[in-house]
Amino acid sequence: MGKALRPSSWLMLLYLLPGLSIYSFVVLVPIFSAFRYSFYSWTGGPKRSFIGLDNYVEIMRDHVFWQSFLNNGLMTVYGLIGQVGLAFLFALFLLSRAVRFKALHRTISFFPSTLAPIIIAFLWTLIYNYNYGLLNEGLKLLGLERLAQSWLDLSGPIVLLVSIPLSWQNIGFYTLLMLAGLSAINKEVLEVAELDGATGFRKAWYVIIPLAKPTLMVASLLCIANNMRGFEHIYAMTGGGPGNASSVMALYAYDTSFLRFRYGYGSALAIAIMALTLLIILLSAFALQRKRSTDGGGS
């Protein structure tokens, strides 16, 4: 690379500094403070007492937290199927010649991504509503009135029920991401596939998936990160209820700080959430990477 293309170190620093400083200031500093508070027993106000690792020991034994963690895990699985998986399928459909109104599908399906969580939550609470709900109304129209439920009161499938609005909102975004990834490979590769005589789903499986892996991977990691720190939809739809049935980690940490006045423990929970999310991301990135390399060797 020529010298004229490379600015001096000072100029580089000058350019990168505004972004780094504002980001460090708002993102990093609070994390450091939370880390510090996590070693204290702190119920608000100026008084704090140092208790070492007690908060972390308590987290290990806190079954509500671990139940919330499992709920996050479950939501992530639903997210990977309902957001990334379906988006991949829809992207394939949208690339096919057979499907009409592509622009319409793309435009409309992306629209829910632009709405505020408070609106999504309101809308879906109403869809699930027992007396005024679209879902029960739909069942009635199909003559399945006996299946009508107060959906958000069901402890069993509650995590699935709150995951559906999330998928509904984000699927358009992931579809676009997939389309972008797929359209980059379709031209050359699919012509080769044509020569091989690969058809339909076989084509998708053997030709497209290995090539779309980078996109799939980014989408999956993004989806995992979003589901592990999920908060707003659940907060507004169920508040974690009934009981703790739909509680998630971020909501539990929030309640601990704001309803139970336990800021020290709440901070420890925040740190634990980040550590667990990071761990899961690294593990899945590792797993996906490995799978990718073995696949690459196989095909």
Binding site: N129, Y130, G239
Partner: protein, 446 residues
């Protein structure tokens, strides 16, 4: 790596510079009010848009306006927030030790705020104003008092448990009164269910309704007030005692038998009341605050049929069957950093305007139950339902509202567990066990 250190150090410097600049701005702001004018920062959850709808909002905000008129020399910087938002904001401010001068403190926060030195003891100031101090109804200062020091000025009182029922619907199934015992309650429930009507509508989405309007009163029916005192003092009583389990079982049975609305955990209090208005339910359990909601918003046929009752006696229970959980629940407190002087004087005067005699009269006249005894007031304009609720409140033997007295950590567990029990996912015994666990943790830390 050197570059990174440089980046970090520069960003820290930037932050400090920003800090410096804004502090300067703040002090210049501060000096504006330093030339003689007292400025009071007030944060509460009463809202101008609720004037005329809610007696408390009407009376308190009227007090603020009167104060502004009488004391133009005092500047009032007011922040109004809705309930949920208020809690979150106040918690963040409290954690940062950055509370405004005057703010609302629910009784359940008080222990924590006192322990952390956030609120100012008011005894001395109140002693300077004996007439005002002695005007509060007996017991209303209690939940804001710790170790003899008063930390909060109560606003409204009255029961958190009353039953509003539609007498016509009960007459249709052969009851000319509200069921007198729990067998009759269950009988009425099944007869109403046969007609497709819920006995009670119930709305606990906000988590807290069950404890405040049901569990507090119902547990007292079984256990009597001595049990509650023993729990609070930490000398022997337990949540695994039979009475508490029976109270929860009673609620659970109503749910299991299908006498409550199916969506009990996913609708809020307003929806619960609207189900009653729509005739989906024959009754609902709520505090005195719902009286004016019925008067203002119920369709005429429902309004005219509405009567007020309390839970019947529990079989073999130790509590007074006429009692209701009640007392003042929410207080105005003052920032502990305020020193005696003209500002504190102005604040106390403001509080008297907002909660004292004149405000109390207004609150009673529009259907509320003020903590300050309004004495004689013009009850002519009051709707019979509001009057009935007012009289029930004045007559009721007030037992403790658990959510104001128990520690927040225990309250949280009860609020969460009761949802699980009502939805059928847990048993009352399991709930009692979990609550007792939280109680033990709390005691061990005390």
């Amino acid at each position: 790596m050197k570059k990174w250190q440089a980046v970090l150090s520069v960003s820290v410097t930037c932050a400090m510079l920003m800090n410096g600049c804004s502090n300067e701005a703040e002090t210049s702001n501060g000096s504006k009010s330093a030339d003689g004018q007292v400025s009071i920062k007030l944060m509460h959850r009463y809202q101008t848009s609720n004037i005329g709808k809610s007696p408390e909002d009407t009376a308190v905000l009227d007090g603020v306006e009167r104060f502004k008129k009488d004391h133009p020399e005092v500047e009032i910087v007011e922040e109004q927030l809705q309930n949920e938002d208020y809690s979150i904001k106040a918690q963040a401010l409290a954690a940062a030790d950055d509370m405004p001068d005057v703010f609302i403190v629910p009784g359940s926060w008080m222990t924590n705020f006192v322990a952390n030195g956030i609120v100012l003891p008011l005894n001395e100031e109140l002693d300077k104003r004996p007439e005002w101090r002695d005007g509060y109804r007996p017991g209303t200062l209690d939940a804001g008092t710790r170790d003899g020091s008063v930390y909060g000025i109560p606003i409204a009182a009255g029961p958190t448990h009353l039953i509003y029922y539609n007498a016509d619907l009960f007459a249709d199934i052969g009851y000319d009164h509200f069921p007198k015992d729990w067998d009759e309650v269950m009988d009425a429930g099944s007869k109403l269910a046969a007609k497709g009507i819920n006995l009670f509508s119930y709305g606990d989405k906000g988590k807290g309704y069950a404890l405040s309007s049901w569990i507090s009163a119902l547990t007292d029916r079984y256990n009597g007030p001595a049990w509650t005192e023993s729990i609070l003092a930490g000398n022997g009583a337990a949540f695994t005692d039979a009475g508490f389990i029976q109270a929860i079982t009673t609620m659970s049975n109503l749910s299991k038998s299908g006498y409550l609305n199916k969506d009990m955990n996913s609708v809020d209090g307003d929806t619960m009341v609207s189900y009653y208005f729509e005739g989906r339910s024959a009754a609902f359990v709520s505090g005195i605050w719902s009286a004016m909601n019925v008067v203002n918003n119920a369709p005429d046929n429902v309004k005219n049929a509405t009567k007020v009752a309390v839970f019947p006696a529990a079989p073999g229970g130790k509590g007074n069957p006429l009692a209701s959980s009640g007392g003042a629940g929410v207080y105005y407190s003052i920032n502990a950093k305020i020193k005696p002087g003209p500002k504190l004087d102005a604040i106390m005067t403001l509080l008297e305007y907002m909660t004292g005699s004149q405000s109390a009269k207004l609150m009673a006249e529009v259907g509320g139950f003020p903590a300050f005894d309004p004495g004689q007031f013009d009850s002519a304009k009051l709707h019979p339902i509001a009057l009935a609720a007012y009289e029930a409140s004045a007559a009721a033997d007030a037992t403790k509202i658990f959510d104001l007295w128990f520690d927040a950590s225990i309250v949280e567990v009860i609020n969460t567990e009761i949802q699980s029990v009502m939805s059928g996912a847990r048993t009352p015994e399991q709930m009692a066990e979990a609550v007792q666990q939280a109680y033990k943790t709390f005691l061990s830390k005390r």
